[in-house]
Amino acid sequence: MQGGVSITAAARDDALRTTLARARGCRVAPDRRRVVILMSPSQCAALLSNLRANGAIAVVFSRPSTHRTLQLKGDDAVVEPVRPDDLAIALRHHEALALDLANIGFGEAFAATLERCELDDLVAVAFTPRAAFSQTPGPRAGNPLKAGE
């Protein structure tokens, strides 16, 4: 979840219309109960406002080279200011993802462009995962994840 993966988050409004955006990084709280993803507000104003309104969130983590994919869902998402070390987390996320993308033939410039962000354009979204699902493509995609998987 914290290295070499592409992260995408979705939220919905009161009319159950969805929106989604890529996240810039992820950290897990020391108690391992809360997950924090980093988002760029310039790219996802509607998503953040939906999260502030109802807290319902789905986040997918996927490694491009293997298609291995995990989805977490929560209903208590909150938008918080970033911590001083979050830009470093976003940069590490970017480097690891760029490396994975390079392994499957995408140029450095492409990966760099896709994940570029600035500290003044970062917020943190924290939530408690209520459910986890394996989303690796195939007939088992969407199955709830069991312990040890």
């Binding site: 995408t8 988050a9 919905r12 159950l16 929106t19 989604l20 195939g138």
Partner: protein
């Protein structure tokens, strides 16, 4: 500036995966990666429905969804609000997506796992360009300019053989296509036969493929372009079957099969019907050893080129029969010399052998048989298309049959087999049979 879907089709080529968000009626959002987002028109996309999963369940309950797509060249990202309309489980859209999915499945190691259950059609409600840095777009070939050049060249052709050649030369010169083939449709036989090809070790002229087999057969049957961007065995039926039979030691039974031209391992294939209104003339097919070689823009260009080709075929086909004068008697030409050659013809399927060397079968075989019969009986060498069309020995399938295309095919096969019999065009709707050795005819059953 409003972004329209046709302007961002590169995002839908599959080079970068698209992501989709849906929501159930309890308000729980869901995110899923998509195998395929297929461009239908500026107002619609179709998504591949492969599994009964959460996404499927959600859109049936709540049709509102959002896609996130990325331009593989520039990194530009777009959010697309869509609304589910319907699912198609057969027809052109379904067949096109099924073929594309076969390529995607084998590319991602999912062959045998990914199976298209349906094409889910969505209306595009809104497209939003997500702010962010992008790479400059690389200059690209202008297909519209290429198409203009090709349309002019095709319209200038005065006979069918020239038109076939010009079509392939246009593809090579204006579109940088290295491998291509043109097949004509035999309506009565439900098959397509190759009349011209480009860039293969053997031309494959005279080879046949069944309606519904491989990218060419499916394009013909469904009347839709079929485009595959990765190598897949699913659409190589003809070659796969032949390979299997050959391995079983039955190769001898296939001596009357001319192998289809084609790359052994095509990574990209695009087959386009050549049709004029409802009438199918044939299929134009291009191939490449590279993944993702042919884009939506190439598909548009080739569909338009094929339409031009169909428009050009119709008058040339009619003109080929127009001459009403009887053929001049040219029997006083130099007599054939050398050892006699046996021409054997099987009435059952028209297959014709020259000195035990398989030449051709079907209508083209019967045409040759009628010509050499007349030649041996009376020394005749001059013939017209019109009399062939009326000749009961040839049994042309119907009046709309493309006789001229069959003559082009026969003429090319005779040249390729370095036969002692040749056909030379001598004018509109007339040709000469050139025989350089004495013929012995054998009618076989």
């Amino acid at each position: 500036m409003t972004v329209t879907l046709d302007a961002i089709r590169d995002c839908l080529e599959g080079a970068t995966p698209a992501v989709m968000a849906t929501c159930d009626l309890d308000g729980v959002p869901n995110v899923a990666y998509l195998s395929q987002v297929h461009y239908i028109d500026p107002g619609h996309v179709a998504l591949s429905f492969q599994f009964f999963n959460k996404t499927r369940e959600n859109v049936l309950a709540n049709p509102q969804a959002t896609l996130l797509v990325i331009d593989p060249n520039t990194g530009a990202t777009y959010r697309i609000a869509v609304r589910y309309l319907r699912t198609e489980t057969e027809g052109p859209l379904f067949e096109h997506m099924k073929a594309r999915l076969a390529g995607i499945a084998s590319h991602t190691g999912m062959a045998g796992v990914f199976r298209l259950r349906g094409s889910d059609v969505y209306r595009v409600l809104e497209i939003e360009r997500i702010p962010g840095a992008t790479l400059p777009a690389a200059p690209r070939r202008n297909r519209l300019a290429a198409l203009r050049t090709c349309a002019r060249r095709l319209a200038a052709c005065t006979d069918l053989a020239g038109l076939f050649n010009e079509t392939l030369e246009c593809l090579a010169q204006a579109f940088d296509v290295r491998h291509a083939m043109l097949l004509m449709f035999d309506r009565a036989g439900g098959r397509l036969y190759t009349v011209a090809s480009l860039g293969y070790e053997r031309s494959g002229v005279g080879s046949e493929t069944a309606l519904g087999a491989g990218v060419i057969g499916v394009a013909a049957r469904e009347g839709t372009p079929i485009r595959i961007s990765h190598m897949t065995s699913d659409y190589a039926y003809a070659r796969a079957i032949r390979h299997g039979v050959a391995q079983q030691g039955l190769a001898g039974m296939l001596e009357t099969e001319i192998p289809l031209p084609g790359l052994a391992q095509p990574h990209s294939q695009l087959a386009v019907p050549v049709a004029d209104g409802q009438q199918l003339y044939g299929v134009l097919c291009v191939e490449s050893g590279e993944d993702l070689r042919f884009t939506y823009d190439d598909e548009d260009a080739l569909v338009t080129l094929a339409a031009q080709l169909a428009v050009a075929i119709r008058p040339l086909q009619a003109a080929a029969d127009a001459d009403d004068e009887p053929a001049a008697d040219e029997s006083a030409r130099a007599p054939a010399a050398g050892a006699p050659v046996v021409v054997r013809h099987y009435a059952a399927d028209g297959s014709t052998f020259v000195d035990n060397d398989y030449l051709i079968k079907g209508v083209a075989g019967s045409i040759l048989w009628a010509l050499v019969q007349d030649h041996v009986a009376s020394g005749r060498v001059g013939f017209t298309n019109r009399e062939l069309r009326l000749d009961p020995r040839i049994r042309l399938p119907d009046v709309t049959d493309n006789l001229e295309a069959r003559l082009v095919l026969l003429q090319r096969r005779l040249v390729e087999r370095e036969s002692c019999v040749r056909i030379e065009k001598t004018g509109r709707g007339r040709f000469r049979l050139c025989v350089s050795r004495p013929l012995v005819l054998e009618a076989a059953r």
